[in-house]
């Protein structure tokens, strides 16, 4: 059985990893991290999916066929953590740009 969401997860994570290793611009590194994080989040959400399941609210479920709530809670936490990390990285990038005048990791000449 080939599952479309899992293929998307693999594509997203390998895209992120490729960019992380081969790109030299600091902003692109942040994007790489964020794409990888989205891949992992999609992976978690997909794990909890059930065919024809409804939102996991107990009183609303007609025949108890619900998607798993735990992974959704995990994903929410993970999204919040990722926002914190990306915000921290972007603020570091602003400061680095003020110091170096460039975002390219190869041109690391500090302004005196």
């Amino acid at each position: 059985m080939i599952s479309f969401p899992f293929i998307t997860v693999i594509i997203l994570i390998s895209m992120g990893f490729f960019a992380l290793v081969f790109k030299k611009n600091l902003l692109k590194l942040v994007m790489a991290i964020h794409i990888m994080a989205s891949g992992v989040n999609l992976f978690l959400i997909t794990l909890g999916y059930r065919q024809g399941g409804v939102a996991p609210i107990f009183t609303n479920a007609p025949n108890l066929n619900m998607v798993l709530p735990t992974v959704q809670a995990l994903t929410l936490t993970s999204i919040v953590i990722n926002i914190a990390i990306v915000a921290l990285m972007l603020s570091l990038i602003i400061l680095i740009y003020h110091h170096c005048g460039s975002l390219d990791t190869r041109k690391r000449k500090l302004k005196q």
Binding site: I13, L20, L26, L29, I33, M36, A37, V40, F43, L44, L47, T70, V71, L74, T77, S78, I81, N82, A84, I85, L88, M89, L92, I93, L95, I96, H99, C100, R108, L110, K111
Partner: protein, 513 residues
Amino acid sequence: MLEHCLVLLIAVPLLAAFFTPLAHKIGEKLRNWWVLFSLVSIQFLVLVLAKNVIGGDIQVYTLGAEFPSLTSPAGFPIRIILEADAIAVFMALISVFAALVISIYSLRFIEKYKSTDKYYALLLILTAGMLGLIFSGDMFTMFVFLELLSIASCGLIAFYVHRGESLEAAFKYIVISAVAGLMILFSVGFLYAQYGLLNIAAISSALEFTFLDIVALVFLVAGFAMKCGAVPLHLWVSDAYGEAPAPISAILVIASQVSLYALFRISFTLFGALPLKEILGWLVIIFGVLSMFIGVTMAILQTDIKRLMAYHAVSQTGYMLLGVGVGLAVIGNTSALDAFGITAMEGGVFHIMNHAIYQGLLFLTAGAIIYRTGTKDLNKMGGLAKAMPFTAIFFLLGSFAISGLPPLNGFASKLLIYESVFRFSPLLSIIAILVSILTLASFVKVFYLAFLGSTPAKFQKIKEVPKSMGLAMGILALFIVLFGLFPNIVVDGLVSPAARALIEQFQYINAVL
């Protein structure tokens, strides 16, 4: 009191952290006393907990229920569980003690900078992150606290925002941490998908060692190894330790040791029944030996005092990996485990404590030199022994301890590692001794360049460091000598129960199920 110790250990530092900026608004004196008071009370809580847990009584705290497996419709419920066994308490003692000493040292060290309130707040959040990572009983809570630890340490590494180098070090650190965190979350997904569990003990007893489990193990080991700075992934260490303020480098050493603890928890408890223990053990040994050797050879070339010490930290991490790796490799073989495996594990675990103390002292002496001279370059220093005699003595004590000279604490743990590893494989033991000799050579060079020789003209008028900084270094130096003179008391009282807690993982599992 006792049953709430575990959750208080996480709640108190977090609460203290958020009150620190408020206390700063009222006055700096009050802020300092507040930080010291909260750290002392955390230390007290850890001691209360340690007294009970070392006696063989594993503490479990369940958030939102009476006991871990309450009200489950089918199987083990998903729930935040905190758990403390001997090795967890051992790590908690080290990290809280280090945080206390470091905040005493920081009182004068960072006084001249702005935003000192945020410095202390982040230090307390870092302590909360370490304690949470140590005590968390399920994989996802572990991930959350690991990220808390990473974000707080990244902010502290970038404390000198006016310097481009520390910003770059912080950026490198956060990239590595984010990737490591994602790897861990990914493998948590793998484990949840198969067993529907997040609790370490419950997963461990349900594991079937399918292909996906092995993939999860690889991601977990890689993620935590990235954070603990063992060799193939050690590139962030020299930047982060080298560019952070000196007391922060000292606490980052502990933060790395806590990741190392998480690595041990994964390989001993979570995958405790893994049939391929020997291969995993040999992998850990190989990474350990590579860390020892590459760390020390890189250190010899450095002229920046803190970067040099950072490479030595990588090299010393290798000793712990070697000791515990030998234990892991022979864990299936009872006669070998009794003959030398347990001693090797004790050596590795004891070395964690000793490393935290002497590496902390060395970073603090480097901080003292930087505080007075304003330079990190060894070639610009000289003749400081006359002006700063106490710092010179502390530095000598620290460097003798790191090179494993008797009668200091480094010797006590290294001897345990040498003699037990020799019975496992003589070659590994010889490499370990060789690395110690190279370490001594490197520190003799530092002592000669920084403390002996003629004093440059601009350093003629410098004085000894302020009293609070001297006190912090003195406490660590005292422990170096005490642990060196009476190692049996520490080994019997703390280290041996901790090593046994790693080997007898079923106690940790049975306490929850």
